[in-house]
Amino acid sequence: MSAPLSLSDLDLPRRNGELAFDAPWQSTVFALAAAVIEHAFGGDREPFRQQLIAAQPGRPYWESWTAALEALAQTLPDRPMP
């Protein structure tokens, strides 16, 4: 379907449940993880997922993403990827 989104489409995610993000830092960390997966790991999500599993116990959801991304950033090479 290529029809433009209608107002009711935009309303649906809210009608169906919680908003995706509660604060701007949450969408930022989500997007940063997507950027690293895409641009540092060629789309391979497994390295991030392993860090997320390790980071999860006892942390609120988006804080576990922050901790996982911090840990993953430590594993990146020092120089920008070619």
Binding site: M1, S2, L5, D9, L10, L12, P13, N16, G17, E18, L19, A20, F21, A23, P24, W25, S27, T28, V29, F30, A31, L32, A34, A35, V36, I37, E38, H39, A40, G43, R45, E46, R49, L52, I53, Q56, Y61, W62, E63, T66, L69, E70, A73, L76, P80, M81
Partner: protein, 197 residues
């Protein structure tokens, strides 16, 4: 318009950590200009359970589409224009009068983003992740989805490789409805398997 970067109150520690990550990763050349804004916009307005409702409604009205959907979920979902991160190996599981499917991610919170958006809070909670495997009938009943004893419950554990989507049963009495009207009946929770229609 985005108000990112504007903090009227002092930033919390986690906000500071995320800002530091953003600076570090941008310096490494991993975050193209506008990337964060674009991802946020897409997940707040374009990507969500309304995508899944269209897939389900199409499967209800078009038996050939339903066949393709059950045979190759990723390809059939892409026919409607949905795909991308976290949706590259989609498996659709069909509810029948005797079988109820429900999805979980026991290890983290894998979820079929392109068709359901981001997961609800309870999906990410350890109690749901643990109890759905151990005592699915009890948990589903507590969540408002009691199932008769003769209905088999199948629990699908998502992984980095495979994401599941539940195809709920079409409710009785909907024979005259259009595809768009049917899509409006479908709820997010029914596509997780935490509710029936």
């Amino acid at each position: 318009m985005s108000v990112r970067g504007y903090h009227p109150a002092p930033a919390s520690p986690v906000e500071q950590r995320v800002a530091a990550l953003e600076a570090l990763l941008t310096e490494r050349g991993l975050v193209p200009a506008g990337f964060i804004e674009e991802i946020t916009r897409r997940y707040e307005s374009e990507i969500g359970p309304m995508n899944g409702t269209k897939v389900v409604a199409r499967a209800w009205v078009d038996p050939q589409y339903k066949q393709r959907l059950l045979a190759d979920g990723t390809a059939a979902i892409a026919e409607l224009g949905f795909g991308g991160p976290e949706g590259d190996h989609m498996v659709v599981v069909e509810n029948t009068p005797g079988i109820h499917n429900v999805i979980v991610c026991t290890l983290c919170s894998c979820y079929p983003w392109p068709v359901l958006g981001l997961p609800p809070a309870w999906y990410k909670d350890p109690p749901y992740r643990a109890r759905l495997v151990r005592e699915p009938r009890t948990l589903l009943a507590e969540m408002g989805c009691p199932l008769p004893d003769d209905v088999e419950i199948r629990v699908w554990d998502s992984s980095a490789e495979v994401r599941y989507l539940v195809l709920p049963e079409r409710p009785p009495g909907t024979e005259g409805m259009t595809e768009a009207e049917l899509a409006d009946l479908v709820t997010r929770d029914s596509m997780i398997g935490a509710a029936r229609l």
